[in-house]
């Protein structure tokens, strides 16, 4: 794996994951569909995962990759909860557009 980094360079991975992360951020900022926002968050988390893996290789240290498992597990749990909430919103509201969620304000 080291060789790959030598050929492509760790910065490139960094840029890529930063790009992915930014896409996630923009997705969350711009989209109003809850599902898509969930996906954007997933993109953010996966961007980080990518970075972690890259760094793991860069440092020749396994803990980074272990961390990725953690983060994937957590992300899964998180999304499960998120979807559950979304389902109950959909039941009550009939829509998953988060712009409808404006009752709490002021």
């Amino acid at each position: 794996m080291e060789t790959i980094l030598k050929e492509i360079g760790v910065e490139t991975y960094l840029y890529l994951s930063a790009l992915l992360f930014s896409i996630g951020v923009f997705g969350i900022l711009l989209r109003r569909n809850a599902i898509i926002m969930f996906m954007s968050i997933e993109i953010m988390l996966n961007a980080v995962n990518l970075m972690l893996v890259a760094f793991s290789t860069f440092h020749q240290d396994a803990s980074g990759q272990v961390f990725v498992f953690f983060s994937m597990a957590v992300a899964a749990a998180e999304v499960a909860v998120g979807l559950a909430i979304l389902v109950s919103i959909f039941r009550n509201h009939g829509s998953i557009d988060i712009d409808n969620l404006k009752n709490l304000k002021g």
Binding site: I28, L29, R32, D99, L101, K102, K105
Partner: protein, 628 residues
């Protein structure tokens, strides 16, 4: 022994006051009246004992009662000083006080609050004694304010009438203006001499310690004079005294003629050594005194209320006394105080007797022809009137003449003013006499029906005072003055040179007497010969109107001082207070408004929240890593 007697002197009236206030109602009217009188008589007797002793030994008596106020540089103790001056004053305070108490037993008999009246009178005597016997300025100040309080209480004695209450309040407040001056004077004296004790200050002055602070002392004496002007009703603080006639007549006699209003003269005489150091202030005093005497006398010319005339006459006479003080002739001022106390008390009590007979009528236009019915009253009144007009050999002649003589020697202009005032005095006093006692009665039929001479309790004091008015001049005969010798120890320097009975003196006496006779003659021709009666208020015109309305001084004060203060008070209450309050609330309102605006930001839109989040994130990262 001395302490005990001093306490008796002081406390007898005070005990009288307490008893009358707390038990008066149970005691009944007569008992309360006699008790009050007795208390003052006790004081009079003790005073006489001390007076005789001090006349003999010529040694002042000092008594330390207890410590009072301690200041950093000096302390003020409750000490009593009985010297020639204070004893002389006490003599006529308690003496005339006793007479007026006796008078009041009958005069106030119909009043439901008679016990209170005697309580207040006793309290007044107590404070007056305190004023006189205090050995330092602050004890004097206790008495000074205390008599002011009693004056307030007694002017407003008939408290159901708000006008009387107004008069009482006015008296108190105007006195307080003077009191502030007095207080500032006290401060300066304390500051300069590190003591308020008369003896100590006198020693210091004699030792020349004051010479470094003459300017400051000038301020002090001026302030003290303001205090005296307030208490003794001099320009510009005199307007309360005529109003003070709202009180019962014995009060006018005791407080507003004979005793309290002379406190200013007492104080200046007490501190004569200080005033001697500040000739400028003395000049001011002389001028103010002379002008006051003229102004008051001119107002007195046209007044129709019998007590008002007497009140203005009092102001005028007090002005003469201040003239004497200003000229450094303290002993003459004191002399006039005493003679004035005799005849003015007699006049007031006489007028009280008349008012009593007429059931409260005070307007001279409704009087007349009383000499037949009220013989004793008329006779004593006549003597007193002659005395005040300066007709020899009555008391007033001697004292007034000496003042004029001093004025003539010191300043001719002042002499002229004083002489004119004297002529006016003679005129209005005889005007009063004629209108009241001569011609036929002008009141209602019913009043006429009830006309009677007053009872013995009223006539007795009149007779005594009448006699004193007649012979009081003997205290200080020209050329051989007992009074001057007696008072000599209290002055820092030799008393004012006695005027030898030279030609000038005789000439001046003659002028004075002629002047008085002119005044009397004018009054005679106007009111007896022509039989005029003063016109009703509305018909008064011209300069007389100005005089009748007292030069509009009250109105001016009202417009220039009282009204603006009220306006300011209203303005402050309505605008400044609310304004300040609104400023404070304003802070709250601004924050609340911010809150209202902020609520709009919290719009419930998750997109906006996320945007804010990202914005915050970016700013932090940007600031930390790119802006550096």
């Amino acid at each position: 022994m001395e302490t005990g007697l001093v306490l008796l002197l002081l406390l007898a009236p005070f005990v009288g006051f307490l008893t009358n206030i707390f038990l008066g109602k149970q005691l009944g009217k007569n008992a309360s009246g006699y008790l009050g009188t007795l208390a003052v008589i006790v004081s009079f007797i003790v005073t006489t004992m001390f007076f005789l002793q001090v006349s003999e030994t010529k040694q002042p008596i000092t008594v330390h009662l207890f410590d009072w106020i301690a200041l950093d540089q000096f302390s003020v103790n409750f000490d009593i000083l009985l010297d020639q001056l204070s004893l002389l004053w006490l003599m006529f305070v308690t003496g005339i006080g006793s007479l007026i108490h006796i008078y009041s037993i009958s005069y106030m008999h119909d009043d439901e609050n008679m016990h209170k009246f005697f309580g207040y009178l006793n309290l007044f005597i107590f404070f007056m004694i305190t004023l006189v016997v205090g050995s330092n300025l602050l004890i004097m100040f206790i008495g000074w304010e205390g008599v002011g309080l009693c004056s307030y209480l007694l002017i407003g004695f008939w408290y159901k009438n708000q006008e009387y209450n107004d008069a009482a309040k006015k008296a108190f407040i105007m006195n307080r203006i003077g009191d502030l001056g007095f207080l500032v004077g006290i401060f300066i004296i304390g500051y300069v001499f590190n003591s308020l004790d008369f003896m100590t200050i006198k020693q210091a002055v004699i030792a020349g310690e004051a010479s470094a602070n003459l300017a400051l002392l000038g301020v002090a004496t001026l302030c003290l004079f303001i205090g005296a002007a307030g208490k003794s009703a001099q320009i510009p603080l005199y307007t309360w005294l005529p109003d003070a006639m709202a009180g019962p007549t014995p009060v006018s006699a005791l407080i507003h003629a004979a005793t309290m209003v002379t406190a200013g003269i007492f104080m200046i005489t007490r501190l004569n050594f200080l005033f001697d150091l500040t000739p400028t202030v003395q000049d001011i005093i002389a001028v103010v005194g002379a002008v006051t005497s003229l102004v008051a006398a001119s107002i007195g010319l046209v007044q129709n209320d019998i007590k008002k005339v007497l009140a203005y006459s009092t102001v005028s006479q007090l002005g003469l006394m201040f003239l004497a003080l200003g000229l450094g002739a303290y002993e003459i001022a004191v002399f006039h105080v005493i003679t004035h106390a005799f005849f003015k008390a007699c006049l007031f009590l006489g007028s009280g007797s008349v008012i009593h007979a007429l059931h409260g009528e005070q307007d001279m236009r409704r009087m007349g022809g009383l000499k037949g019915v009220m013989k004793i009253t008329f006779f004593t009144f006549l003597i007193a009137t002659l005395a005040i007009s300066g007709i020899p050999p009555f008391a007033g002649f001697f004292s007034k003449d000496e003042i004029l003589m001093v004025a003539f020697h010191e300043n001719k202009a002042l002499w002229v003013i004083a002489a004119i005032a004297s002529i006016m005095t003679a005129f209005y006093m005889f005007r009063l006499l004629y209108l009241t006692f001569f011609k036929e009665f002008r009141g209602t039929e019913e009043q006429k029906h009830h006309l009677h001479e007053s009872p013995a309790l009223i006539t007795f004091p009149l007779i005594v005072l009448g006699i004193l008015s007649a012979v009081g001049g003997a205290l200080s005969l020209p050329g051989n003055s007992w009074l001057n010798h007696y008072l000599q120890p209290i002055f820092a320097h030799k008393a004012h040179a006695e005027h030898h009975l030279d030609t000038t003196a005789y000439m001046l006496m003659g002028i004075a007497v002629v002047g008085a006779l002119i005044g009397i003659g004018m009054a005679f021709s106007k009111y007896i010969k022509k039989g005029e009666v003063p016109v009703e208020d509305a018909q008064i015109t011209g300069f007389a109107k100005t005089l009748y309305n007292k030069y509009y001084v009250d109105e001016t004060y009202m417009a220039v001082i009282v009204k603006p203060i009220y306006a300011l008070a209203k303005f402050s209450r309505d605008y400044i207070e609310t304004g300040l309050s609104n400023v404070v609330f304003g802070f709250g309102n601004v924050t609340e408004e911010l809150s209202m605006q902020g609520k709009k930001l919290q719009n419930g839109n998750i997109g906006f929240y996320l945007f804010a989040f990202v914005f915050g994130l970016c700013s932090v990262v940007f600031y930390l890593f790119f802006l550096r």
